[in-house]
Amino acid sequence: MIIEISHYLSILATGLFLLIGLISFITTDTKYTAKLISKTFSHGFLLLLVSFIIYIWLAITDNFSVQYIANHSNTELPVFYKISSIWSAHEGSMFLWIIFIALWGFIFNINIKNDEVLKPKSIGVISLILVGFLLFLLLTSNPFETILPIAPLNGADINPVLQDPALAIHPPTLYLGYVGFVIPFACAISFLINGNPDVRWEKLVQKWSVLAWVFLTIGITLGSWWAYYELGWGGYWFWDPVENVALMPWLAATAFLHSLSVSIKSSHLRVWTILLSISVFSLSLFGAFIVRSGIIDSVHSFANDPDRGLYLLMFIGIILIISLSLFILRFSIIRPIGNIKSFSKESFISINNIFFGSLIFCVMLGVTYPLVYEYLFDQKISVGAPFYNAIFIPIVLIASLFLFFSVDSKWSRNLNFNFFRSPIIVSIILSIASIILLIYFFQTNNFTFLISVYVGLLIIFRYCIEIFNSFYFKKFINPFSAIAHLALGLLLLSISFNSLLSTERALSIRLDSTEEYKDLKIYLKDIKVVKNSNHDSIKALFFIENSRGDIVELSPEKRRYRTRGQITTETAIHISPLRDIYITIGDQLDNGNWVVNVQLNYFIRWIWFSGCLMAIAGIVLIFSKRKV
């Protein structure tokens, strides 16, 4: 009964959003219609929100007459997971996705004044996108379906891999990031429809775009961290198709933010900025399509259903046709006036756009090539890390070198500096000195490692000098750019050190005996079977002693979940700033020994820290009063 109210409210909201879309595009903009559209949108959001809150309440109270809840929740789950079970599968996560689009629209709606020229049509675009997704939800993946007349006594349980605090925050954060780019997209479309080149849509969307980018960055970082400790994969990035479809919008969004900063100051790169705003949003939708159509096999993909895929594909197609046709129609008004000065900041950023474009293209190729190949030759192939490493590493390094030189460039001016008195030479000398120390210390001649570290150090030293100058000589520094680029340098360093130093080994250990690995003495103290509320587990206890004599206790587990019979590995990790000791237990061998996998992951925390630092940079920009 209650579920019908929730269902009905979402249908009502769909109608209301359709109405807003029609009003905003049919009527001419007047004060009255602007107010009407704004008010109606808030009401539509309210209906949707109430519908979602009812749905959450049904999940908390174990209402298994709702099919989706019966399939994905269970009475024995803690309340926390009862709520997060809503976004553990396709229908519910789509519902959350829609709520987030509406939420962004709502906050945008109440923050922007009604007399803003672009507002009514932006809200109209957001409403129509909402209608598209709501119809998708209601027609092809209805979370409101019921099992009547007799509801099951208990639910089928949430996938145990997803019974984890990170799950409760990882998908929502990522979704907030993905759909946040609906704001710049809607404003860009509204700007194109409006057709007046003097309207500065770029200023309107900057903070919104940065906020969405912050969520996307945190979401991807969380996902990487989650895969590391929950899936037991032991690495931070796997070039899995679903990671790739999250990476593409991130790359596009990063390029978009760079391009946006130019377009705000002058009318340069407007073509880029608009194309990028369309790309970010359509790449986000493309991600949803890849994950939800079942076209690619992946650990993340939801159940296969070609109908859903087809609907989403058509939806993306329509959005692309409309927005790109508008772009072509209005091409003459957004074309740049005058040329960009060579070696000005603008020129560096336009080169940066090209680098990011190439990276996106390369990921796209990696994702689609196996599909096309399979279609043409009826054969399956896998595109994995070797392909991406071969293409990504050189492009990222060259782009970073350009970044290093761009620090000295000025807006709308030619590069003009005395090479020998510039901080560039200081950074180069410092970096070379550090590299020589590294070669001496690590005895390595791994070229990729050395060059990546070198480029990373160049960026870090260069920006440290900038920060020093800003403190002592009050030289202007853009804190957002400095922090974000320091994070990039740190990311390069930590990834390089991680791949150089990290090792792993599978040991076979007898109970109550010690094995040595590197500087560690690993002692298997105890192993026992533990029964828990919804799973049985084999739990081991290790004492690990390092060369300095410090002892840590670690207890990895292997769990068997009763309801689904699924077996998961719970890793045990000892965290320290420099390295993680990462232990998983495998099977028992015939001779009674246990297979134990030990990994030493160096600098892996620094990789996620760099991700967080980038997000912090974004937050700094959002709260800064200055124009950037």
Partner: protein, 173 residues
């Protein structure tokens, strides 16, 4: 030039959409069911642990030959199903394809080893003779004769639609 730019901007994404449309609506037939059988080519490869050389004489009888690698994500997805087959008593021989020996051993230690014997085919020489194009791929071998070849992930559906009919026909296992 301007026209070229405009049409590329519009047509390139639409071409992508069209491509995905074709991929999505394609009838998903199982390939490899009308298969010309052939004998396993002559070969001599090291085993994964690098303790001995394996040739045709070492592999007799009926078995499944699975091509895998530690860098292959789909193999990771396929892996639990192979473990199932092993537990049902079906003999699986692994062909470790263009992989680092150390990585492959780590992979097996971590996820479990469904294979009775594993060859280390670093250069893909045997794989080339067998007609392998990537990983994962799976062959059905009946008394030294290859009777089926499936490219891609083997799962319940593929097993019952592609392999079981041939297994029954050949009277294997």
């Amino acid at each position: 030039m301007k026209f070229l730019f405009k049409s590329t901007v519009l047509l390139l994404p639409l071409a992508f959409i069209a491509m995905f449309y074709i991929l999505l609506t394609e009838e998903d037939a199982y390939p490899g069911t009308d298969y010309k059988t052939f004998d396993i080519p002559k070969f001599q490869l090291e085993n994964l642990e690098n303790t001995k050389l394996i040739d045709n004489d070492e592999i007799k009888g009926n078995f499944i030959l699975n091509v895998w690698a530690s860098w292959c994500i789909t193999c990771r997805v396929e892996h639990p199903f192979l473990m199932n087959l092993k537990n049902q008593g079906i003999k699986i021989i692994g062909l470790n394809y263009k992989d680092e020996r150390f990585d492959a051993i780590q992979w097996l230690d971590k996820y479990g080893n469904p294979y009775e014997i594993i060859f280390h085919d670093l250069k893909g020489s045997l794989a080339l003779d067998l007609g392998v194009t990537g990983a994962p791929e799976t062959f059905l071998v009946s008394n030294g004769k290859v009777v089926a070849h499936y490219q891609g992930e083997v799962n319940d559906a593929v097993w019952s639609n592609v392999f079981l009919p041939i297994i029954k026909e050949e009277g294997m296992f």
